[in-house]
Symmetry: C2
């Protein structure tokens, strides 16, 4: 089947994936017209409509990025190496003030292209103009939980606006009727949302049965300011407002203490580890993975946005996580490769409550194929070690989400148009900000 056969791409069909390895053994995988894995083994899909040759690569669950701001791809490299507050107030916020829905559409398309290329099939996103983000995700074929960044700054008027924006987003996304795209509720953080706002978000998410996506204890300043303002640390405040649930993904969590790790475990909160962002912004402490894992918290992986990373490569992030955890907690045995792979796959799916994250019959066909002939897989003493420590997302040759082929042999249909559109949106955005 030639690479330019666009019949293969982005649609439901019965699909036989041949010539792949699973757990070190050669096999085939059959995907059905509903986008589910219908069979695994030799000759499972001889009657399938399409056959996709895996070229001997390793088939794995698609990666799940549990914390990002996808459209910030437009700000990649716009400002770096600055003190957090200056970086935000002098560079990021002034540019974001000029963002339009069209920018978010193009930025999210670029993010989706980057995620498809690097093996991510699902992401958890928080930003603005999320209806436009949803349109981009729908076109690109990924799975996403999309939340509007709810920021009331303790103003009742602003709170009313944010409530309306959140309600509208949930309604608009549900009206799309795309099962891959779900709304979530996104109270930004304890320093940007009042307790009243937090409580409303918790109640609305429970009523609507959506996820909750929030930044928690990213910096020491956040913890200290919360103590000053509310007499308690962020997790206690969030718990009082009902935000800590089994549908909640808490991003960062660098300054959680041991008791807070146990609280998160008891509430079923998942924590999204964002090591590259935390190091780049020098937040001063690594997420306490040993305490979280010891308490039984589900820990997943996120890239954060491209202004503070500056890419969306989740395999690169897995390496950074495995390295940072060893360095920060002074032990080379912390976060071994198999656990890092699990964070990027199964734990991510669990954090978002979706049934993918494993290559098993009956699960959604969210699948990637890692090239076996890549230098990073030569030799292959241990696939999980190679995935985490040697390969980047560039080793991904094929990406399938919901049974739809989004990339095969490195080819993503329409990639050039996305790059051209995003480049134009980004330079227009900077020009508008300069003129203002």
């Amino acid at each position: 089947m030639p690479m330019d056969n666009n019949d293969l791409f982005n649609k439901h069909q019965s699909l036989r994936i041949t010539n792949v390895q699973l757990n070190g053994r050669p096999t085939e995988v059959l995907v059905d017209e509903q986008g589910l894995i219908a069979g695994i083994g030799e000759r499972v899909g001889e009657s399938a409509e399409f056959t996709l040759d895996g070229n001997g690569g390793m088939i794995m669950p698609g990666l799940v990025n549990t914390h990002t701001h996808a459209a910030m791809t437009l700000l990649r490299g716009y400002a770096d190496d600055m003190v957090l507050q200056e970086w935000l107030s002098q560079k990021i916020w002034p540019l974001e003030a000029h963002l339009t829905g069209s920018d978010v559409y193009w930025g999210t398309k670029l993010a989706c292209l980057e995620m498809i290329r690097t093996g991510t099939t699902t992401f958890n996103d928080m930003y603005f103009f999320m209806q436009d983000a949803a349109r981009a995700v729908g076109e690109m074929g990924l799975r996403a939980d999309l939340s509007y960044g709810f920021i009331d700054l303790s103003s009742p008027d602003k709170r009313e606006q944010e409530i309306k924006a959140t309600e509208t987003l949930v309604r608009d996304i549900r009206s799309m009727g795309n099962p891959r795209i779900r709304p979530a509720v996104g109270p930004h953080a304890v320093y940007t949302v009042s307790p009243e706002g937090l409580s409303w978000c918790a109640g609305f998410a429970a009523e609507q049965k959506t996820g909750i996506h929030i930044h928690v204890s990213e910096t020491k300043t956040e913890v200290e300011d919360c103590m000053k303002a509310h007499g308690m640390r962020p997790p206690a405040l969030l718990d009082r407002c009902g935000v800590l649930t089994h549908r909640t993904v808490a991003a960062h969590g660098c300054w959680l203490d041991a008791g807070e790790c146990r609280l998160f475990a008891s509430r079923g909160v998942s924590v999204s580890h964002n090591p590259a962002s935390n190091m780049k912004l020098a937040v001063g402490r690594a997420m306490p993975y040993p305490d979280l894992a010891g308490a039984g918290v589900n820990v997943s992986l996120g890239t954060d946005g491209c202004a503070s990373n500056n890419n969306l490569d989740l395999l690169e992030e897995a390496k950074t996580a495995a390295l940072l955890q060893k360095f920060a907690w002074d032990s080379p045995t912390v976060l071994p490769a198999p656990e890092a792979v699990r964070m990027a796959t199964r734990n991510g799916a669990k954090a978002l409550g979706i049934p993918s994250g494993a290559v098993e019959t009956g699960r959604p066909a969210d699948l990637i194929i890692i090239s076996a002939r890549d230098v990073c897989n030569t030799p292959c003493h241990n696939l999980e070690s190679n995935m985490v420590y040697a390969c980047s997302g560039n080793a991904v040759s094929t990406t399938i989400c919901d049974g739809r082929v989004l990339m095969h042999d490195g080819h993503v249909p329409g990639a050039d148009e996305v790059i051209t559109g995003a480049r134009k949106a980004s330079s227009d955005l900077v020009a508008r900000a300069r003129e203002a």
Copy 2:
């Protein structure tokens, strides 16, 4: 010019590189038959034998990896996530005991392939069977300083063997008459080489005018053991033995104190920063970049060997360096992107005393082209930021060393044979070790 035109590859010729950007401006570069940059500007090389289309990419100096053990690619992923001493004594050393010259040849070829793909044109290597490594480097077309890892363990007999091995290597490499491949002297470290051995290495390197390649203050244990054995810290011992010179590359340097940074500056020693290895092995402290840079020490970048990284991607290493330095020294302004790029290019060339490291007329044509259409360069607000924080070595489309084209448009002639040969060498090595 078609990609399979092997006339283009790995030979001296006059070469016109068109359609590239330098410092943000479109230009052309002319390379002459001696492998030097003969001109930069519009239409500089209209009479050249070959024309190479840069596809609008960014032309940069080739990267310089100042600390690696190239043939350890064969051990990639063989053992990870272990305590250093157990990892060495139970896994790495038992396997290395079965290494042959042929293994080192194939491991070094694989390393060269990986470096060519990721934009490294020069490396500083220390290992065993270095005549076989030299043969591999010669065939692959890179530039390298090769040293035999001198380890006498305080035994006079062993010392005599190591002296002979070092003398033989210097003679053998010089007899190859390949100006791209130079011998260096490689006293392994203060905990594996006696003061007598160190002094001999220093004297021989001075006499032969070669570089010195040594591990220095990688772990706290190394510093403490040196204090116990010699009553002084590693830099003082090395200085007493004459090892600290302007031809010396000290790898790691994690546990250097402020006075030692000043000592290195006064002696002209270069330090090779190996952040991924240091984090993976949890050495407990980051190389003190602010102190070293403040003292005026030339700091370059190295990947270390593939058993402790586990790849040779120097752009990935530049990101890890920029992130680790910020995190470890608690400031997001430490090691900004332009300095990280300089470490990977100009500072590396300076560490080895070679005139490459910049795109300037008269310098060796050690050049790479970074793809402008890659997602990691979209948008391109700042090329140096993208190179360090967004791109990996995968964004490199073309690699030229000494004026010879080693990769163009991602194509390296003979890559498949190298992968097949290295894979076989690696599995044979593991089989021999299992049978023993």
